[in-house]
C-alpha cells in the first residue's frame, strides 16, 4: 500500500504481534483507550467507551498467549462496534432516546464471533438514530465529526465507526449497511468499508432498520483487514433464517490473486451524477485495473435510476413495522399517560427524533390500504427489475466500478433541512442493497480540499472473493492517503 500507514497500525500487524508475544493485548488496548480519551471529545465517534470491559478482555487474551493457547486471528485487536449491535449487559442505544436504559441480555452473533477470534470490544459507536441517515447528525446524542475536517460530517449512518477507524481510535469497526451506511461514511472518512452479500453475515443482534436490506460489515484501514474481519464474522447462523452457508474460498486467500483477465464494467449510473473529483477518481481506478490486466468496458444499467425511489419506500415500510415495538410497554423510555394508547403515542413522540418519525410515517403510508400497490408493491417490482438487470450485467462482467458517494464530506448542517439532498447521498450505494449484492468502498485520492474520495467495487451475490481481488489491486494503485487532522498520536 502506498500512502500514510494507518494511525494505529493494521489489525493484521497488531494481532500478529500480540500472538507472537512482541506486544501485549493490554498494551494495545491501553494505547487505543488513551487515544479515545484524548480525541473523542472532539470527534464524538463513541456513545459508550468500555474501559473496564476492554481491559478485562485484553487480560484474558494475554493469559491465553502466556498459556500457549491461540487466542485467534484477531488476538488483542480493539474493535469499535456500532451501537445498533447488541452487546450483553452494555447499553445498546441505536443513538435514540427511546432505548434509554436498555441493556440487551445477549450478544449479537457478530459480537460473539469477534470475541471468539480474540478481538476486544473497545466501545460502541455513534450512528444516525436507528441507522436512518447519511451524516450521523440524526443521533440523539449529537453528531460525530469527520477526522479529516471536524466542521464536516463523517457520513452515515455508521459515521462513528468510520470516524473511529479513520482517526486510529480502533483498527477495526463494525457497521451496518441498509442503503450505504458502511460504504458512504467509509468514503467520506477515507477508510475501507464493505457491505457483504445479504445473508453472508448473521443479523442476529443487529437492531433492525429494514430487515430485507440490512447487513453487518467491516470498516477498516486496509483491504486485507477488511477481508480478515469479514472472514471472522461471516457464515451461517441458525438464529438467522436468512443467513447463508459460508462460501469458500475465504476472502483472505483471494487477496493476492490480482485482476489479470477480470472483466470490469464502469457503471455509468454510478458516475454520472458525481462531482468531478469523484468521477476522476473512478476513471483513475479503472485505469489501475486495466494496468493490472483487467478488461474494461462501460456498463449502463438504466434501471438503477429508480433505485433511490424504490429504496425510500421499501426501507421506511419495513422500518415502520420494525420500530413499532418501541411502545413503552416492555423496555426503554416510557412517558406515562392515562391510557395505553396515549402512553404509546407520548412515548414515541418523545423518544424518536424527526428523521425516524418521518420514515415511520412514509413507511406506514406506503403500506396503507389503497396505497400499497402504488407504493410498496411498485417498489418491490422495481427491486426485481434492478436485480434482473444486475444479473444480466454480471453475465458480461466480473465486477463493476463506480463512485461510493457523489460528493466528498459535506459541512455539518448543510443538508439537515433538505431531506432529499440528504437522501441523494445514498444514490450510488442503494442498488447493491436492493439486489442483496456485496459492494465495498475504498479510499482513492482526495478532492481539491484534500478530503478523501471513495471508489466502489460491486460484485454479484457471494462474489466477495473477486471483489476483494479488485480492491487489493486498487489499494496498491491508490494515491497516497492524507493523514486525518484529528487522530491518535
Amino acid at each position: 500500500m502506498t500512502g500514510a500507514p494507518p494511525p494505529g497500525g493494521s489489525a493484521l500487524d497488531l494481532a500478529r504481534s500480540v500472538r507472537d508475544g512482541s506486544t501485549s493485548a493490554a498494551e494495545v488496548v491501553e494505547r487505543h483507550l488513551s487515544a479515545i480519551d484524548a480525541v473523542d471529545g472532539e470527534l464524538h465517534a463513541f456513545v459508550t467507551v468500555l474501559h473496564d470491559g476492554a481491559r478485562a478482555e485484553a487480560a484474558a487474551v494475554d493469559r491465553a498467549v502466556a498459556a500457549g493457547e491461540d487466542p485467534g486471528p484477531l488476538a488483542g485487536v480493539p474493535v469499535a462496534v456500532k451501537d445498533n449491535l447488541c452487546t450483553r449487559g452494555v447499553p445498546t442505544t441505536c443513538s435514540s432516546r427511546i432505548l434509554e436504559g436498555w441493556c440487551p441480555p445477549y450478544d449479537a452473533t457478530v459480537v460473539e464471533r469477534l470475541r471468539a477470534a480474540g478481538a476486544v470490544v473497545i466501545g460502541k459507536t455513534n450512528l444516525d438514530e436507528f441507522a436512518m441517515g447519511s451524516s450521523t447528525e440524526n443521533s440523539a446524542f449529537g453528531p460525530t465529526r469527520n477526522p479529516h475536517d471536524p466542521s464536516r460530517v463523517p457520513g452515515g449512518s455508521s459515521g462513528g465507526s468510520a470516524a473511529a477507524v479513520a482517526a486510529g481510535l480502533a483498527p477495526l469497526a463494525l457497521g451496518s449497511d441498509t442503503g450505504g451506511s458502511i460504504r458512504q461514511p467509509a468514503a467520506l472518512c477515507g477508510v475501507v468499508g464493505m457491505k457483504p452479500t445479504y445473508g453472508a453475515v448473521s443479523r442476529y443482534g443487529l437492531v433492525a432498520f429494514a430487515s430485507s436490506l440490512d447487513q453487518v460489515g467491516p470498516l477498516t484501514t486496509t483491504v486485507a483487514d477488511s477481508a480478515l474481519l469479514f472472514d471472522v464474522i461471516g457464515g451461517q447462523d441458525r438464529r438467522d433464517s436468512t443467513c447463508l452457508e459460508r462460501p469458500s474460498p475465504r476472502c483472505t486467500a483471494a487477496l493476492s490473486e490480482g485482476v489479470q483477465g477480470l472483466r470490469v464494467g464502469v457503471l455509468t449510473e454510478l458516475v454520472e451524477g458525481a462531482d468531478d473529483a469523484v468521477a476522476a477518481a473512478v476513471r483513475q481506478a479503472a485505469d489501475a485495473l486495466v494496468a493490472g490486466g483487467a478488461g474494461l468496458e462501460e456498463c449502463s444499467i438504466p434501471e438503477l435510476r429508480h433505485g433511490l425511489s424504490a429504496y425510500y419506500l421499501l426501507a421506511p415500510a419495513e422500518a415502520s413495522s420494525n420500530l413499532a415495538r418501541y411502545d413503552g410497554v416492555r423496555y426503554g423510555l416510557r412517558v406515562e399517560a392515562d391510557t395505553v394508547e396515549e402512553m404509546n403515542a407520548r412515548t414515541r413522540a418523545a423518544g424518536f427524533g424527526p428523521e425516524v418519525k418521518r420514515r415511520i410515517m412514509l413507511g406506514t403510508y406506503a403500506l396503507s390500504a389503497g396505497y400499497y400497490d402504488a407504493y410498496y408493491g411498485q417498489a418491490q417490482k422495481v427491486r426485481t427489475l434492478i436485480l434482473n438487470a444486475f444479473d444480466r450485467a454480471y453475465q458480461r462482467f466480473d465486477v463493476l466500478l463506480g463512485a461510493t458517494s457523489p460528493t466528498t464530506a459535506f459541512a455539518l448542517g448543510a443538508r439537515v433541512d433538505d431531506p432529499w439532498a440528504m437522501y441523494m447521498s445514498d444514490v450510488c450505494t442503494v442498488p447493491s442493497n436492493l439486489a442483496g449484492h456485496p459492494a465495498m468502498s475504498l479510499p482513492f485520492g482526495t478532492d481539491g480540499a484534500g478530503l478523501p474520495v471513495g471508489v466502489q467495487v460491486l460484485a454479484p451475490a457471494l462474489g466477495e472473493p473477486v471483489m476483494f481481488r479488485a480492491a487489493a489491486v486498487l489499494e496498491d494503485a491508490a494515491p497516497a492517503r492524507t493523514l486525518p487532522r484529528v487522530r491518535a498520536t
Binding site: P104, R203, L206, S241, R330, E341, A369
Partner: protein
C-alpha cells in the same frame, strides 16, 4: 336444517374462524416451552419478547402439525409465506403478528358433518399467538381497571387458524361444525382442542338474508367464543338482532362484536370505519415454506383415522340393519372421548357389541381421561366377566371405578371386593334355602308360573349380596322343578 333457518323468512349465513393452539413442545419461532398454566413470564426469551435485534426461526414441527390439519380437512398444501400483520397491542411484543396472508399453507378443503352436510374450508394458516393481559384493580374490567399485567408465556405459541366458507346456515350447524372440527384437531394430534383453556377459540361471522335470495347481507364478526354453548347462544342472539333490525327497516352495520356471557347478548367493539389497517407485508426475517411431495406424503402417512371413519367403524360392528339415534349418539360419544380403542378391544375378544357400547359410552365415558389410561386387556377382562355372568352390571360399575383409582386385574379386584360369582354347589345350596323359605311361591312356580323366576332370583341376590349369576339361578330353579 334447524328451526332458526328460514324463521320469519330470513336465512342466516355463517362462517367460522377457528384458532387452535398447536401442542408442539416449543413455540413457533423460538425454543421456549409451549405450556398452559405456568408461572407468568417464565417461558420467555429475547425472540418471543421481540427484543431489539432478535430474529424468528420457524419450528418445523409446527409446520408438520399445520400440514396434518390441512390434510385431515382435505386441503391442498401450497408453498406459503409469512406476512406481518401490523397493529399496536400491549400483549403483542413486536406490535405486529407474524401470520400468513395471501399465501397460506393449506387452501380449499372441506369438512363433512355427521348429518352429511359439507362445509368448505377456505384456508388453514399458521400464525403466532399473543400474550395475555389481565386487568387488575377496580372492577377488573378494562374500563375501570387500575393497571394491567401482561403475561408473555403465550406470546409466540403456534396457532393454526381454520377459516370456513360462509356455508353454515344455523347455530346448531355451527356447533356441529365446531364440535366435529375439534374432534378432527384432536385426532390429528396437532391440538388438544381444549376450549376451556383457550387452545381452541372461535370467531363467528354472521349475516342474514331473505330466504331464497343469494346476495349476502352485511355481516358482523363475533370474537373469541370459547365454548360450544357460547357459540350457539351468540349466533342465535346475533341472528335475532339482525333480523329485528332489518324487519324494523334499519340496516345492519358491519361491526366487530363481543359476546357478553352474563347478559347473553353481543355488543359492538368497533365499526368498519374503526377497523385496523393491518398493513400486511411479507415478513422479511423468514424464508418461504414449501413442503415438498415427499414431506407431504410422510405427514399424510402419519395421520390416523378421523372421527367420521372411526364412527363408521363402530357402527359397522352392528351389521347392516337400521340404526337408532340413541346408538348413533353413544357411538359419537365413544369416538369424541377417544374410547373407541377400548370398545373395539372388547368386541374383538367376543364381548357382545351392545354391552361393549353401553359400558364404554356410559361407564367408561364418565371419566374419559382415566378411561383412556386403562390397560385395554383389563377393560376387556372386566366386560367379559360381566358377559359371562361372573359379575353383575352393578359390580362392573364398581370395579371400573376401582380400576380408575388404581387399576389392576379386575378378577383380583372382584376377589378383594368379594364379588366373584358363587360356585355351583354354593349357589345350589342358597337356591335350596330360598325355595324352602318360600313354599307358596315355589308351589306356583312348580305349577308352571315362570314369572316367579324373577322373584327367586331377587331373593338369591339379596342373600348373596349380588354375587350370584342370574342365569345360573334360573337354571338351578328349572333343575329343581325337574
Amino acid at each position: 336444517m334447524s328451526a332458526s333457518a328460514g324463521a320469519g323468512g330470513w336465512e342466516p349465513v355463517i362462517g367460522l374462524e377457528v384458532h387452535c393452539e398447536l401442542r408442539t413442545a416449543t413455540k413457533l419461532f423460538c425454543g421456549c416451552r409451549n405450556a398452559f398454566g405456568d408461572e407468568p413470564n417464565t417461558n420467555i426469551c429475547p425472540v418471543c419478547l421481540g427484543l431489539p435485534g432478535s430474529l424468528p426461526v420457524l419450528n418445523v414441527r409446527a409446520v408438520e402439525y399445520a400440514m396434518r390439519i390441512g390434510l385431515a380437512l382435505h386441503c391442498e398444501i401450497r408453498p406459503s409465506l409469512f406476512h406481518r400483520k401490523n397493529y399496536f397491542y400491549p400483549d403483542m411484543p413486536k406490535d405486529y403478528q407474524v401470520s400468513q396472508y395471501d399465501a397460506p399453507i393449506n387452501v380449499s378443503g372441506w369438512l363433512e358433518l355427521p348429518d352429511g352436510s359439507r362445509v368448505s374450508i377456505e384456508r388453514a394458516h399458521m400464525e403466532e399467538d399473543t400474550g395475555k393481559t389481565t386487568h387488575v384493580g377496580g372492577g377488573g374490567r378494562i374500563r375501570d381497571a387500575e393497571h394491567a399485567l401482561v403475561d408473555y408465556n403465550r406470546a409466540g405459541v403456534p396457532l393454526v387458524e381454520i377459516v370456513s366458507a360462509p356455508d353454515i346456515r344455523s347455530s346448531a350447524q355451527a356447533r356441529l361444525y365446531a364440535s366435529e372440527l375439534r374432534g378432527i384437531l384432536i385426532a390429528t394430534g396437532a391440538s388438544d382442542g381444549r376450549m376451556e383453556e383457550g387452545s381452541m377459540r372461535v370467531d363467528a361471522n354472521v349475516s342474514v338474508r331473505p330466504a331464497g335470495t343469494y346476495e349476502f347481507g352485511t355481516r358482523c364478526e363475533i370474537k373469541n367464543l370459547n365454548s360450544l354453548r357460547s357459540l350457539g347462544r351468540a349466533i342465535e342472539y346475533e341472528i335475532g338482532r339482525q333480523v329485528a333490525l332489518l324487519e324494523s327497516g334499519q340496516a345492519v352495520a358491519q361491526q366487530t362484536r363481543h359476546f357478553d356471557e352474563d347478559a347473553g347478548e353481543t355488543v359492538a367493539l368497533r365499526s368498519k370505519e374503526e377497523a385496523f389497517d393491518y398493513r400486511y407485508f411479507p415478513e422479511p426475517d423468514l424464508v418461504p415454506v414449501a413442503p415438498d411431495a415427499g414431506w407431504q406424503a410422510e405427514v399424510a402417512a402419519s395421520l390416523g383415522p378421523m372421527p367420521a371413519d372411526r364412527r363408521q367403524k363402530l357402527a359397522g360392528l352392528f351389521g347392516t340393519g337400521p340404526t337408532t339415534p340413541a346408538r348413533d349418539d353413544q357411538i359419537a360419544t365413544v369416538v369424541e372421548l377417544g374410547l373407541d380403542a377400548l370398545m373395539l378391544a372388547a368386541v374383538e375378544s367376543g364381548v357382545d357389541v351392545g354391552l361393549a357400547l353401553a359400558r364404554t359410552a356410559n361407564e367408561a365415558a364418565a371419566d374419559p381421561d382415566r378411561a383412556r389410561q386403562l390397560e385395554p386387556t383389563n377393560y376387556v377382562a372386566l366386560l367379559r366377566m360381566e358377559a359371562e355372568g361372573k359379575i353383575s352390571a352393578t359390580h362392573t360399575k364398581t370395579l371400573l371405578a376401582d380400576m380408575f383409582d388404581g387399576g389392576g386385574d379386575p378378577a383380583e379386584l372382584a376377589r378383594r371386593r368379594g364379588f366373584e360369582a358363587l360356585d355351583d354347589s354354593s349357589l345350589a345350596a342358597v337356591v335350596a334355602d330360598v325355595v324352602a323359605a318360600n313354599p307358596d311361591e315355589w308351589a306356583r312356580y312348580r305349577d308352571g308360573d315362570d314369572k316367579l323366576t324373577g322373584f327367586f332370583t331377587g331373593q338369591v341376590m339379596k342373600v348373596t349380596s349380588g354375587r350370584a349369576n342370574g342365569k345360573a339361578v334360573a337354571q338351578e330353579l328349572r333343575r329343581l322343578r325337574g
